[in-house]
């Protein structure tokens, strides 16, 4: 078994001759929290989209747990245990928080095509769903429709939903985006907690969150890897300071 849970080789994505991601060799180590940072448009979200097959890479291969998954369908990737969150909050708006989480849990029952079964058959999942909601402090929101929840709570719900799949690898795209201080801290805490048993890759602009959480950081710029290392290494890299922070150290 390789040390790396996820590995890309020469990953490239071109949009009409414009390379959004170029030759990216990304290695995510098992059991770590790995951050992807970089200026806007550096290609972070695109990398995530490639990893989860929302986009087809133009070139390059992706290995997950040693298996080549470059040709997998998005849903297949998810079933392998790679689950992502979205940059813009992605909940199921007109479903309650509980239902949001339950829909994720439900896949395991294998009844997703059973249109003749009663919804009652899903109640067996309620306890587990409640559990997950409690984990992200949403216990009191269980019966609230997702649209009616404040932004920060929605992101928490999204994380709970992601957790429901018990993913081996979680991909979080700017989990703290659009949150106030308190929310940021709570979500950071949460990520730390859930990352205990799994591998996490995240895109994050909030460097203090990155510093607090991440074991390893990859800095992207214009679709290419600019630097890689621990927070200390990266934050002292003059190229990073120049390109990302915009100040020469």
């Amino acid at each position: 078994m390789s040390d790396y849970l996820l590995e890309t080789r020469g990953l490239t994505k071109e949009f009409k001759g414009f390379a959004a991601v170029q030759n990216v060799d990304l290695k995510i180590q098992r059991g770590t929290i790995h951050a992807l940072i970089g200026p806007n448009g550096a290609g972070k979200t695109t990398v995530f989209n490639l990893l989860t097959k929302f986009l087809q890479p133009t070139r390059g291969t992706i290995f997950y747990d040693g298996v080549d998954i470059t040709r997998d369908e998005p849903a297949q990737i998810a079933r392998r245990g790679v689950v992502r969150s979205f940059q813009i909050s992605a909940t199921f708006g007109h479903m309650t928080a509980l239902e949001n989480v339950r829909v994720a849990l439900q896949r395991r029952l294998g009844t997703s095509y059973h249109f003749w079964r009663a919804e009652r058959s899903l109640r067996v999942l309620d306890d587990q769903a409640m559990d997950l909601l409690e984990q992200v402090d949403l216990g009191s929101f269980a019966r609230t429709l997702a649209v009616e929840m404040p932004y920060g709570r929605k992101r928490a719900l999204e994380i709970a939903t992601t957790l429901a799949l018990d993913p081996a690898l979680m991909l979080l795209d700017e989990p703290t985006q659009g949150m106030g201080h308190e929310d940021v801290d709570r979500v950071a805490e949460l990520i730390k907690r859930v990352a205990a048993k799994r591998t996490v890759a995240m895109v994050e602009h909030n460097l203090s969150v990155v510093e607090k959480l991440c074991d390893r950081i990859t800095v992207l710029q214009r679709g290419e890897i600019l630097a890689e290392g621990t927070y200390a290494e990266v934050s002292n890299d003059p190229r990073v300071l120049e390109a990302y922070v915009g100040v020469e150290a």
């Binding site: 001759g17 806007n40 448009g41 659009g178 909030n206 214009r222 922070v245 915009g246």
Partner: protein, 254 residues
């Protein structure tokens, strides 16, 4: 959002009322902005006098771009007051704002894929006399002249950035809202842009500059506003810059 009332009334008092502000060009007061349900700006206050250049600094996501978009009317919802030369911009359609001689250069550059360089350049209508001619623009940016017939999106990042800026210079806009114009550009082009900005300043343009690249912005600006979580957390005049550098670095997380 009760403060909205004051500037709006000021307008109804006629020209005399805003004369009192001196040659102030733009005043933003208690500006809130929303994207759908997320509340991004929490009461921004700032002002720009004619001929001044100010910068908006802050980390990613602090709301700098949103401030510019809010001025243009490109956010989902906004409240508060934005006075521009005696006109209230809140509630005004974006094209009317532009017609008041406000030029906007978005952070993603917004070069139109289906258009050639020259078509991109000629797209914005002339809103005031005194804009640069296409000839002058090509003199400033010779690269653009060379590539004038190629599709806008085939240009390099730097060229696209020049094009995005050049495009608003032609229209005669007097207030330029520039978002991260040095983003992802090679140092040599950044330097070039610095010269252009100086040139524009000397010609009397008023500029609001959003920058990550503090080194680029510092020597150009008359005043800096530092934003965090949609609020102005610090204002630094050019003169105070040296004394406040540490504080600033802390805020910017450098």
């Amino acid at each position: 959002m009760s403060t909205v009332a004051t500037p709006r009334h000021a307008r109804s008092h006629g020209p005399a009322a805003h004369k009192a502000w001196g040659n102030e060009m733009l005043r933003v007061a208690d500006l809130h902005a929303f994207y759908g349900e997320s509340h991004v700006l929490h009461g921004i206050d700032l002002h720009v006098d004619e001929g001044e250049l100010i910068t908006l600094l802050g980390r990613n996501g602090s709301g700098r771009s949103t401030t510019l978009k809010a001025v243009m009317g490109l956010v989902g919802r906004r409240s508060g007051s934005i006075m521009f030369n005696g006109n209230e911009l809140v509630g005004m359609a974006p094209h009317r704002v532009a017609r008041l001689a406000v030029g906007y250069c978005p952070e993603e550059r917004g070069i139109f894929a289906g258009l050639t360089t020259e078509e991109n350049l000629r797209l914005p209508p002339i809103v005031r006399s005194g804009g640069l001619t296409v000839q002058e623009i090509y003199e400033i940016f010779p690269n653009l002249y060379e590539r004038r017939h190629s599709p806008g999106t085939r240009l390099s990042g730097g060229e696209q950035q020049m094009l995005a800026m050049a495009r608003i210079l032609r229209s005669g806009a007097r207030l330029l809202l520039l978002d991260e114009i040095t983003e992802g550009l090679a140092p040599v082009i950044v330097k070039k842009l610095g010269e252009v900005i100086r040139l524009l300043k000397s010609r009397g343009f008023t500029i609001v500059l959003v920058e990550q690249n503090f080194r680029f912005a510092a020597p150009l600006a008359d005043r800096h506003y530092v934003l965090e979580h949609g609020r102005v957390v610090m204002t630094i005049d050019q003169a105070e810059l040296a004394s406040k550098t540490d504080e600033l670095h802390a805020l910017l997380g450098v």
